[in-house]
Each structure stands twice: as structure tokens, then as C-alpha cells.
């Protein structure tokens, strides 16, 4: 049951794949967490939203890496350069689990790296854990091992 008094978690997802956006949406809705989810088709749309001073900044941003117009990495860099966004937790959400991508996003200032699961129940599990994560605690002891999220 969604509790009315709980402040909804503001979540953004930038992913160019429509199916993935749908899976994500369904999984979040199944989680029974008060949330406000906004979906973006690419990095450019995301940055346009964030840079609009009227926009409400999210708590968590899920960022796909491989996107047209503006890649996830480019978005990550721009966000981390702007002090206004310093409180946004960024979760990389990608099919890739290559060392190169993990290394780059870790250095780029992402908070966690999620490899897209191939099972819907797993996806729900992952999202549940990540959304409920104590970000302050996680970020304070963040290292390369804890950066890559595994269930």
C-alpha cells in the first residue's frame, strides 16, 4: 500500500530503448514505493530537463550509457560539473559490464553501476534495493568493489 504521508522518491530514467523503459516502469510500479518516475528517450532530453531551473531535481537518476544524441557518460560529466546537481545520486544502468565502462563511470562520479538483469524478478529486486539504499552510507564507503552492484 502506498502511504500518502510518505514523500515520494523522485526517480529519473534516461534510456533510448522503449522496452527497457517499459520494464523499468513496470518494475517500479510493482515495488509499491511512493515514487515519481520520469522517463527520457535520450541524454539530450534529460539534460534539457535538468538544466531547466523550474524542474524539480530527482533523488535518483538511472542512466543508460549507450544512447543517441548524448551518451550516458557525457551526461554524467555535465551533471558532475554543475554544483546544483551535487545531491543527485546517479545509478548507471547498462547492458555492458565491461571493465572500461565501469572504470570510466566510477571515475566520472557515478554512485553505483547496475548491469541490466535478464530476468524481470531480478530487475524488481535490484530496483528495490537501489531505491531504498542509504545513499549517504553507500557513498561514504564507496570503492570499486561496492560500486558494481550485485545481488
Amino acid at each position: 500500500m502506498i502511504k500518502e504521508d510518505q514523500k515520494p522518491v523522485h526517480i529519473l530514467l534516461a534510456d533510448d530503448d522503449e522496452d527497457d523503459r517499459n520494464f523499468f516502469n513496470d518494475a517500479i510500479n510493482d515495488l509499491k514505493i511512493a515514487n515519481k518516475l520520469t522517463l527520457f528517450k535520450n541524454g539530450k532530453d534529460l539534460m534539457d530537463y535538468l538544466e531547466n531551473p523550474d524542474s524539480i531535481l530527482p533523488d535518483i537518476l538511472f542512466l543508460d550509457l549507450n544512447m543517441p544524441c548524448k551518451t550516458g557518460n557525457e551526461c554524467l560529466k555535465e551533471i558532475r560539473l554543475n554544483p546544483r546537481f551535487k545531491n543527485i545520486s546517479i545509478a548507471i544502468y547498462s547492458t555492458s559490464s565491461s571493465e572500461k565502462d565501469i572504470e570510466e563511470t566510477f571515475v566520472g562520479g557515478a554512485n553505483i553501476y547496475i548491469k541490466k538483469p535478464n530476468d524481470f524478478s531480478k530487475l524488481k529486486k535490484v530496483l528495490k534495493e537501489v531505491v531504498n539504499l542509504n545513499w549517504q552510507f553507500h557513498t561514504s564507503k564507496l570503492n570499486k568493489d561496492t560500486f558494481f552492484f550485485s545481488i
Partner: protein
């Protein structure tokens, strides 16, 4: 400078020649002096003999005169007195002849004066006797007296002459002795000096001869060494050259000409003859470098092309630097090497390298395709499968559910295959960073990763004490993941799988084909299980790509796992082998260098 160095063979020869020359002149002078002294003594002797002869003649003439006078007194025949005047003149002529040769103040001259007066008085006596004898009334008494007086005088005269002759004889004796002595000494000096000169000449000649022979020998050796050097240059395609900065003279070794495609010591005497052979594209640059090097006296090194007279293009590497020669003159010495073969193969190698880099990039993008682009749709297929499974399975028929299950299995298998392919391609990549790592740490990570599978099979994994080794950690991690997964996969139904990983001692039987392992150089790590095992004949095949052994049951494998293991061990310069007994288990032995 050492004395020995100072007295060079030529100098010794010159000194010997000079000494000999001076000695020969000396000998000639001494000889000349001795010869003239000999001449003098010969003159003296002959003078002395003449004197004796003259004196004896005087004696005999006087005696003759006495006799004729007596004969006249007895016979009164004046015929006896015919020659009288002539005899007297003869005697005085002889006397004067002797006296002429004598110095006036000498003893001999005085003796001769005495003798002359004696003869004069004798002749006076003769005159008196003759007067007495021719007188009409001969005073016999006086005549007898005068005759006696005359013979007395003759006696005195004869004695004087004899004493003079004796004196001359004695003088002659001394002359003779001196003469003989002179002859002897001059012979001895001449002989000994000649011998001495001969000895010196022979000595210096022999010395010069040995020195000459030595020089000739050295010359031969030098020629031989030069020949060797030339041959070595020819074989190695090397040449050398010299530029004397002071004199501006150039020298090129024989092989330099051969490299240019010319006969040795052809028309090249300076760089201006050489520049036409340089490739037109290189010539300006080379001349610039050369001139700068000569102006600044700095070392130079460059590669350029030459065109041989037959049109062939050769690559030459030329290096030179400045040094002083034995005369202290600044000389640039350099080496030119024909590097055509190396250069061409280097170019080919560079080309191959470029294409290799391109191939690697392609491999990388292939890797990218497999790890990302191919997995993307597959992941979605699996996602939809799980969604259908969650919500729609109740509405699908039994047959449809069977098909659906097969789709799921195939999708999973495809996923495993792609993961293994990525892993395999990762073992080929070149960035291999070796870090000293504790294998126990690696294995605790591995067992953690495989915890679910181990749990599922209720297996026991026993890990002994393992060493610290220089490894590429993620690869060795992968190696043990694959080996343990393999053991879990091929475990026996109904038996608790026991997987042991331990470090073992290397014994005599440890060998890999012909290679014998030594305890000092390798670690031997053994992974053994109690699974279904395999036939020993497959012990090599199981490491081949996509090679799966036929088993009764259908095992879900990609055929890549053990191939990856082999690749990883090879990346570590190690060896892996498998031993199996069907129904009992398998033993994988890994040798990793210490």
C-alpha cells in the same frame, strides 16, 4: 722516449755506415803515412848501401893506387901511371857524392870531412913518393920512410873507412828493423781495421736484414688483417670512411664502393663524386646534415637511399663522429651500413603491425558486439520470457509450455556462450599486468562467486594453503571459476561432490610431453574432484575450443570453459593437463612459474 725506441734499425744502420766511413778514411790516412815512412826508410837503406859501396870503392881505388905506384917504383914504367888522375878524380867525385847527401852540421858530414882530409893527405904522400921515385938520385932511405908512412896512412884510412862502413851497416840494421816494424804495424793496423769495419758492416747488415724481414712479416700480417677486415665488411655489408678535416682528404673502404655498386677504388675521391648516387629525394637533406656536422664538429647519423649504377635502390645507414688521428689532426670517422634488407623487412613489419593493430581493433569491436550489442536483444528475449512466465504461463497449453521451456533453455545457453566468448577474447587481449597475488584470496573470491552453485550441488570445496604468485588476477580468477564450475557440472548423481585445490610437491613423474618440471621453477597446483571423470584418451581434446566430450547425460556446456583455462595458463607461461578415470573423477594439474 725509450732508448730502444730511439735506436731504430735505420738509425743503427746509418751510425754504422758513418763509423765505417770515418774508419775507412782513417785507415787510408794511417796507411798513407806508413807507406810514406816506408818509402823514406827504403830511400835511407838505398842511400846507406850507396854510401857503403862508394866508401868501399874509395878504399879499393886507394889500394889500387898504392899498387900501381909500387909497380911504377919497381918497373919505372910510366904506363902504370896513365890512369892516375882519373882515379883521383873518381875518388873525390865519390866523396862529394856522399857529402852532398849529408847535412853540413851532422856527425856523418864531419866524419866525411875527416875522411876527405885523410885521403888528401894520402894522395899528398903518393905525390911525394912519386917525386922521390922519379928523381935522378933516388933517396932510398927517404923513399922507404915515405912508403912506410904511406902504408901507415893507408892503414888509418882503411880503418876509418871500415869504421864508417860499420857505422853504416849498424845504421842500416836499425833502418831495417824500423822498416820491418813499420811494415808489420801497418799490416796489422790495416788488417785489424779492415776486419773491424767488416764486422760493423756485417753486424749492421744482419740487423737491418732481420729488421727488414720483421717489417716484411708485419707488412704481410697487416695485409692479411686488412684482407680479413675487407672480407668481414663485405660479408656484413659494412663500410667505413674517413675525412681529414685539416687536409680535406677523403678515404673510403673498398666495401663502400661495393655497396655503391661500383668496383673498389673507383672514381670517388670526395663527396662531390658520391652525391650523384644519392636518391634525389634524400640528397638535399643529407648534404645539409653533412655540412652542419662538418661545421659544428658534431656526430651525425642518418639513413638515406642510394641508386646504384644499375638502378637498384639501397638503404644506407651512416654514422660518424670526430676524433684525432695519430698526428693529432681532427678526423671524422664513420661507418656506412647497407641496411636494405633490414629496412625493407622493418617496413614490412611496420605494415604488419599496422594491420595487426587494425585486426586487434576489429577483435575489440567484435568483443564489443558480443558483450553488448548481441546481449542486448538476448537479454530482452530473456526478460520477456520471464514476464510471460510470471503472468501468462497459466493460459498457455501444455505443448506451448514445453516449447516455451525450450526457448528459455536455448536463450540461457546462448547467454552462457556469449559470456564465455567474451571471457575467451579477454584472455587474448594484450594488456597483461602481472601482480603478486595470494591465490587463497583469489579462491575465496571464486567460492563466493560460485556460492549459489556450490550450495545447489551441496558440494564441498577444500582449499589448501596456496602460494603467492605473479598473476593476471582476473584471469586466474576465471581459471578457477571455470575449473570448479566444471567439477560441479560433471559431478556424480547422488554423491556429495568433493573438490580439492592444493599445492603439491613436484616429483620425478611430473612432465609435460618432454618437458621436465623442476621444483625450483614451478608451482604445481592440483584441482581434483570425485565426479564422472573422463577417458584418459580425451585428456588433450577437452582443452580444445568448442570440444565437448560425449557423455550419457546432456550437460549444459559451451565447450569454451577449459579452452579458456588453457589459454589463461599459457598466458602465465605455465602448463595445464588433465587426467581422468571414468566414474572416479578428474584431476587438473596446473604448473605455474615461480
Amino acid at each position: 722516449m725509450k732508448l730502444k725506441d730511439f735506436f731504430t734499425p735505420t738509425l743503427i744502420y746509418r751510425i754504422a755506415l758513418g763509423v765505417s766511413f770515418i774508419l775507412v778514411i782513417g785507415v787510408s790516412i794511417v796507411f798513407h803515412i806508413q807507406m810514406s815512412s816506408l818509402n823514406r826508410s827504403v830511400d835511407l837503406i838505398s842511400d846507406s848501401n850507396k854510401k857503403q859501396f862508394d866508401l868501399e870503392k874509395i878504399t879499393s881505388e886507394i889500394i889500387q893506387r898504392e899498387n900501381t905506384l909500387r909497380s911504377f917504383i919497381i918497373t919505372k914504367d910510366s904506363a902504370f901511371l896513365e890512369d892516375d888522375l882519373k882515379v883521383k878524380r873518381n875518388i873525390f867525385q865519390a866523396l862529394n857524392a856522399i857529402k852532398e847527401k849529408l847535412p853540413e852540421d851532422s856527425e856523418d858530414y864531419e866524419h866525411m870531412e875527416v875522411l876527405t882530409s885523410l885521403i888528401q893527405s894520402r894522395f899528398d904522400n903518393f905525390e911525394e913518393i912519386l917525386l922521390l921515385a922519379t928523381a935522378e938520385d933516388t933517396n932510398t932511405k927517404l923513399l922507404n920512410l915515405k912508403l912506410t908512412e904511406g902504408s901507415e896512412k893507408t892503414k888509418v884510412l882503411r880503418n876509418t873507412i871500415y869504421s864508417l862502413i860499420d857505422k853504416e851497416v849498424n845504421k842500416l840494421k836499425i833502418h831495417n828493423i824500423n822498416h820491418r816494424y813499420d811494415i808489420e804495424t801497418s799490416t796489422i793496423t790495416a788488417f785489424s781495421l779492415t776486419i773491424f769495419v767488416l764486422v760493423i758492416l756485417l753486424f749492421s747488415l744482419s740487423k737491418v736484414n732481420t729488421d727488414y724481414q720483421q717489417a716484411q712479416k708485419l707488412n704481410k700480417e697487416l695485409n692479411f688483417a686488412n684482407q680479413i677486415a675487407d672480407n668481414a665488411e663485405k660479408v656484413a655489408g659494412i663500410s667505413h670512411w674517413k675525412i681529414n678535416v685539416k687536409t680535406g682528404k677523403y678515404f673510403y673502404s673498398d666495401n663502400f664502393f661495393r655497396i655503391m655498386g661500383l668496383e673498389p677504388s673507383s672514381q670517388i675521391v670526395g663527396p662531390e663524386h658520391f652525391t650523384p648516387f644519392i636518391h634525389p629525394e634524400d640528397v638535399d637533406e643529407i648534404l645539409k646534415i653533412h655540412e652542419e656536422s662538418m661545421a659544428n664538429k658534431t656526430a651525425s647519423s642518418y639513413i638515406y637511399r642510394i641508386i646504384r649504377p644499375n638502378g637498384e635502390i639501397r638503404y644506407i645507414s651512416s654514422t660518424g663522429d670526430f676524433t684525432n688521428n695519430t698526428k693529432g689532426e681532427l678526423v671524422k670517422i664513420g661507418v656506412s651500413i647497407d641496411i636494405t634488407e633490414e629496412y625493407v623487412s622493418k617496413l614490412a613489419l611496420e605494415e604488419k603491425n599496422i594491420s595487426l593493430v587494425a585486426i586487434n581493433a576489429e577483435l575489440e569491436s567484435f568483443n564489443q558486439i558480443v558483450s553488448h550489442d548481441l546481449q542486448e536483444p538476448l537479454r530482452k528475449i530473456q526478460m520477456f520470457i520471464s514476464r510471460i512466465d510470471d503472468t501468462e504461463s497459466a493460459t498457455i497449453s501444455k505443448k506451448g509450455q514445453d516449447y516455451f521451456e525450450k526457448i528459455r533453455t536455448s536463450a540461457n545457453r546462448m547467454q552462457n556462450l556469449m559470456i564465455d566468448l567474451v571471457n575467451y577474447s579477454r584472455t587474448i587481449k594484450e594488456n597483461k599486468v602481472f601482480v603478486k597475488t595470494n591465490l587463497n584470496d583469489v579462491l575465496s573470491d571464486v567460492t563466493q562467486e560460485l556460492a549459489l552453485n556450490i550450495e545447489e550441488k551441496k558440494a564441498k570445496v577444500k582449499i589448501g594453503k596456496l602460494p603467492k604468485i605473479n598473476i593476471i588476477e582476473f584471469q586466474i580468477h576465471q581459471l578457477f571459476v571455470n575449473l570448479i564450475s566444471n567439477s560441479l557440472k560433471y559431478s556424480k548423481e547422488g554423491v556429495t561432490p568433493i573438490i580439492k585445490i592444493s599445492l603439491e610437491k613436484i616429483d620425478f613423474e611430473d612432465r609435460f610431453n618432454d618437458l621436465v618440471f623442476k621444483e625450483k621453477k614451478f608451482y604445481k597446483i592440483v584441482v581434483s574432484d570425485n565426479g564422472i571423470g573422463f577417458k584418459q584418451e580425451f585428456s588433450e581434446k577437452i582443452f580444445m575450443l568448442f570440444r565437448r566430450l560425449e557423455t550419457e547425460m546432456d550437460y549444459n556446456g559451451t565447450g569454451l570453459g577449459l579452452a579458456i583455462c588453457k589459454k589463461i595458463v599459457e598466458n602465465h607461461n605455465g602448463f595445464i593437463k588433465a587426467d581422468g578415470i571414468p566414474g572416479t573423477g578428474a584431476v587438473f594439474t596446473i604448473y605455474l612459474p615461480k
